[in-house]
Each structure stands twice: as structure tokens, then as C-alpha cells.
């Protein structure tokens, strides 16, 4: 099975939380990612940067998790922004049109700066 593992780590920069995804965000790992994003939102951490530098693959189940979190945030000051994705992942975002829903940044620093 092409699944496997996804490790999720979180770092805090003021009111922004950087979530690094390392591995594959697919059907098998989506529920873990969803749980950690929703617990961040539940704890009032509304500004989230997903660092996708080590994200190898994202399936529609993975896109659904990001979209669910984004929809949960609504139109307030909080947002989920993505940074440092590989050309392959960026291509998936372009193909599915998700690059029109999420703000994508070349690196984490730019994504962090965009919140201030």
C-alpha cells in the first residue's frame, strides 16, 4: 500500500502555529492530520501555516482535511496558509483548483509574514 506514514509537528510563533507535515497525506493518514488541525482550532489557534517542505504526496482525502479546517475557520481573522510545497504538490493544488482557495507561499518566512 502506498500509504504509510505522516509525521506532524507543531511550532509556535506568536499567534501563528506552523504545522510541518512530513510524509504522505492520504486516506490512511488524513484522520491524524484532521485530528491535529481540529485540536489546534479547538484550542483557539486560528492562524496556521502548513509547512509542506517534506510533504511527498497529497490525495483528495488530504485536500478534504485542509478544506474542512479552512471552512471551520470561516471568514474571521484566522486562516490556513501553505508554504514551501514541492512542484509536484503545487501541481496537485493547481490541477484541483485548490490554489484558488488557499494562499500558497514559497517559504515559511513569507507565510508567517503574511499574517502580520
Amino acid at each position: 500500500m502506498m500509504s504509510g506514514t505522516l509525521s506532524i509537528s507543531e511550532r509556535i510563533f506568536g499567534d501563528v502555529t506552523v504545522v510541518s507535515l512530513d510524509g504522505r497525506l492520504d486516506t490512511t493518514t488524513a484522520s491524524d492530520a484532521e485530528a491535529s488541525l481540529l485540536s489546534l482550532l479547538g484550542a483557539g489557534r486560528q492562524k496556521i501555516v502548513i509547512n509542506a517542505r517534506n510533504l511527498e504526496y497529497i490525495s483528495s482525502a488530504g485536500l478534504r482535511v485542509l478544506l474542512a479546517a479552512k471552512k471551520k475557520l470561516g471568514s474571521g481573522s484566522g486562516d490556513i496558509r501553505l508554504a514551501a510545497m514541492s512542484p509536484q504538490i503545487r501541481n496537485i493544488f493547481a490541477i484541483t483548483g485548490f490554489d484558488r482557495i488557499f494562499l500558497l507561499f514559497d517559504d515559511e518566512g513569507q507565510a508567517l509574514a503574511s499574517f502580520s
Binding site: 500500500m1 483528495s60 478534504r64 484541483t96 482557495i101
Partner: protein
């Protein structure tokens, strides 16, 4: 060996054999199982009290005199009763065994009666402290050792004259502790065995029930999905149409459809819901109905998809979305007008084997309620082949974790493009099967092939 000692061993061995039988017996009666399940009734409490009380009386009666000192396992019944069934049974059995001891008299009468009642009381207290569970054999044996030590202490404190009590205790203490600890070990192991057996069975039952529920859910999801697929495909003038959906074990939410339109045209759709199981199947059902309804209300494909998206987005909980390719085939003009809402771009292979992709013209439905959709048109000519597919095709994997991919798919279609639609479809499915081998697939594989024939 001293024949006197051999006699003691035989008697002790007999006692242990009786204990094994008693322990086996009690673990087979339903009242004991009830208590282990946390069900306490007057009936099971009274009957178990009587049982462990009788064990205590047996412990007194079976006692032997070693070097003139009585060795017995009177405390064992109340201890086991209390540890496994709680304070009522423990104290009850202790009182029964204690009263019986009292009738026998002797200078240790008060001390032994008191010790037996206390044994049941302490055992019951340990049961409560351990959250109404049996403590396991290690702690049970340790308790038996300590309790018999207390028993000896009470004899020393209460029985008069002290010198006689001291002489007795110095002889019987070690064998009493040993025999009661051994009896407790036998009981505890057999009870522990029963508890472990019941836990295994419970886990198996729970696992079985969970499996049944999952199977039923899969069946429901599959039934919904299958009911949404067209039973037969229409005959299109000047075109051939073939389609196939192979659901994965965990149904993925793929679908395809054709909708006859007024005039000389027909819509064809292929889509994939982001999710699996019953939620995906229900979301698919909603989306299909919405798109079908909008197809009747609008003339332009982009309007159909724009309004469908608004309705689906309003209803899309937990981030669900559906990728959809919506194409209208005009048989007379030989044109395909399409909107591609985030779906894997279908492949158009021309009669001269050149190919192009029918690219995305908007985002997947349900993701963004204000999304705009563009409509595109391609002219078709005889020999053109359009292959619509879901990501289960290009993301089918082999045992080396390689994906089937669009390059392979395109190669096959180019190779087979002169054949009828049905043949091209079969050929793709055969190649996927050969590529994946025995590797299980986790997504539905859905394909639709349109071939433009001579007018």
C-alpha cells in the same frame, strides 16, 4: 523419609486436590461469572457466601495436627471470597467459618474466630480498593501470607496464657502460612485463568461485532453507489460509448452518468467524491441529483456547474467535495463542450494518434461556493477517442509502489485508438490488472470511453 512426614504430605496433597476441585467448581457456576461481570444480586451474594463459608468449614475440618499443633486453611474461603466477590461474600464467609470455629472451643477459640472474620473483611476491602476487580495471583498470595501472619499475631495478643500461645505459634506459623499461601495460589491461578478467558472472548466478540458493522456499512455504501450508476448506456448517433466502474473494497465514491438532452446532444459525466464509505456515497447521491436538476434548468454547461457548485457547497459538511467532468456531446455538429471541475483531465486521442488533455476549467464542486467555471469546446472528427477516468486508474499501484500514471494510460490509448470503444476500455482494464498484479487497490477504478465513428 520419616513415615510421619509422609503422612502429612499425603494429607496436604489431598487438601490441595480438594481445593483444585472447589476452585474449578466455583469458576464454572454462573453466579460467579455474574459477579466477575459486575452483576451483584441477593441470590448470587447469598449463594457465594454459603459456598465460601463451606470452604472455610472444610478448611477447619480438614486441618491436621502437626507435632500436636493444628494446621488448617479455615481463612482461605473468606480470603478468596472477599478478593474475588467483594466484602459481602468475604465477611459472610468469614462469619460462617468463624462461628463454626467458635463451637469447637479451645484456648485459641476467640483469636481464631476473630482472625477468620477479619480475613474476609480485609479481602473484601482489597477488592473494593482494586476497583471491584480481582487483584491477580501475586497480590492474592502476598495477602494470604500477610493475613496468616496477622492471624498468628492475634493468637499471641488474645490467647492466654501467653507462654502456651507463643509455643503454639512458633510451631504452626510457618506451615500455616505456607499451606494457606499454596491454597490461595491454586484458587488465584484458576480464577485468573477464567478472567483471562472471559476477556479474550469479550475482545473477540467486540472485534467480531465491529467487523460485522463495518461489513454492513461497506455493503450500504456499495449499494448506494451502484444504484447511482446507469444500468444501461444509451446508443449515441455516430459515436460509441463504453463505461465501467470497479469499486474498491472500501468504496471510494466514483461515479459516471449520461443525461440525454434536447436536440442532438447528450451530457456525459464522470466524478469522484473526496472520501470513502457511506458519507461519500450520500454526498455523491446529493451531488448527482443537484447536477441532474441543473442540467434541466440551464442551456450552458458553465451555468449548470456554477449553480450546482453553489448548492453543493451550501451542503458540503466537513470539507467534502466532488471532482466532476461535465461534457456535452453534440452529435450533429460533432463537438464536445465541457466544464472540468477539478477532475483528472480526460484524454482526447485523435485519429492521427496525436493527443491532448481536456484541462481543468474550475475547482472541484463544493470546495468554494463563489467559484467561477469556464466552458471550453473541442471539435471532434471520425476516429477520435475520449477517455474519461478517475484517479483510481492513474494512481493504481504495483508491488513496487509505482503508480500506473498518465503516461502509461496515454500509451495504451494511442496504441489501441483504432479499435472500438469497448475494446479500448477492456484493453486499459487488462493493462491495469497486469500492472497491479496481486497488490490490493484502495480506490475505485472508473473509466468511460467515447469513440467518434464515421458519420
Amino acid at each position: 523419609m520419616n513415615p510421619e512426614y509422609l503422612g502429612y504430605f499425603i494429607v496436604l496433597f489431598q487438601m490441595m486436590a480438594v481445593i483444585v476441585i472447589l476452585a474449578y467448581f466455583v469458576t464454572r457456576i454462573t453466579y460467579f461469572s455474574e459477579v466477575l461481570s459486575g452483576i451483584f444480586t441477593w441470590k448470587n451474594q447469598i449463594l457465594l457466601t454459603l459456598f465460601f463459608g463451606l470452604v472455610s468449614i472444610y478448611g477447619t475440618e480438614s486441618g491436621i495436627s502437626i507435632l500436636g499443633a493444628p494446621i488448617n486453611i479455615r481463612d482461605l474461603g473468606p480470603m478468596v471470597g472477599g478478593l474475588s466477590c467483594g466484602p459481602i461474600v468475604g465477611c459472610g464467609a468469614g462469619i460462617i467459618g468463624g462461628i463454626y470455629r467458635m463451637t469447637l472451643g479451645g484456648f485459641t477459640c476467640t483469636a481464631c474466630t476473630l482472625a477468620t472474620i477479619l480475613a474476609g473483611f480485609f479481602a473484601g476491602a482489597i477488592y473494593l480498593l482494586n476497583h471491584r476487580r480481582f487483584v491477580g495471583w501475586q497480590l492474592a498470595v502476598a495477602f494470604a501470607v500477610i493475613m496468616e501472619g496477622i492471624h498468628m499475631g492475634i493468637v499471641l495478643l488474645v490467647s492466654k496464657p501467653f507462654s502456651q500461645a507463643f509455643e503454639l505459634v512458633s510451631i504452626v506459623a510457618a506451615p500455616m502460612i505456607l499451606v494457606n499461601a499454596a491454597g490461595m495460589l491454586v484458587f488465584a491461578l484458576i480464577i485468573g485463568n477464567l478472567i483471562a478467558e472471559r476477556r479474550t472472548k469479550e475482545e473477540r466478540d467486540r472485534y467480531g461485532a465491529e467487523l460485522e458493522r463495518k461489513k454492513a456499512e461497506l455493503q450500504v455504501a456499495r449499494t448506494i453507489q451502484e444504484s447511482l450508476l446507469p444500468r444501461t448506456l444509451p446508443t449515441l448517433p455516430g459515436m460509441e460509448l463504453a463505461a465501467k466502474a470497479l469499486p474498491a473494497t472500501e468504496v471510494g465514491g466514483d461515479f459516471y452518468d449520461t443525461i440525454p438532452l434536447s436536440g442532438d446532444s447528450s451530457a456525459m459525466l464522470i466524478g469522484d467524491v473526496s472520501g470513502k464509505g457511506v458519507p461519500a456515497a450520500l454526498f455523491l447521491s446529493l451531488s448527482r441529483t443537484v447536477v441532474r436538476a441543473n442540467t434541466g434548468w440551464h442551456d450552458r454547461s458553465w451555468e449548470v456547474i456554477r449553480d450546482s457548485n453553489k448548492m453543493i457547497a451550501a451542503d458540503a459538511a466537513s470539507g467534502m467535495f466532488i471532482t466532476l467532468f461535465f461534457g456535452v456531446l453534440d452529435f450533429r455538429k460533432r463537438q464536445l463542450t465541457y466544464v472540468n471541475a477539478g477532475h483528472n483531465p480526460p484524454l482526447l486521442v485523435h485519429a492521427d494518434a496525436t493527443s491532448e488533455e481536456l484541462a481543468i476549467t474550475g475547482i472541484a464542486l463544493g470546495a468554494l461556493d463563489s467559484a467561477d467555471y469556464e466552458e471550453r469546446m473541442v471539435s471532434l472528427s471520425a476516429g477520435d477517442v475520449i477517455v474519461l477516468y478517475t484517479d483510481g486508474v492513474t494512481e493504481a499501484v504495483n508491488d513496487r509502489d509505482e503508480q500506473f500514471g498518465t503516461v502509461r494510460l496515454e500509451g495504451i490509448v494511442r496504441d489501441a485508438h483504432t479499435r472500438p470503444a469497448e475494446n479500448i476500455l477492456d484493453r486499459i482494464l487488462q493493462e491495469i490488472a497486469a500492472f497491479t498484479g496481486d497488490t490490493p487497490q484502495f480506490d475505485d477504478i472508473t473509466l468511460m470511453v467515447v469513440k467518434v465513428t464515421s458519420p
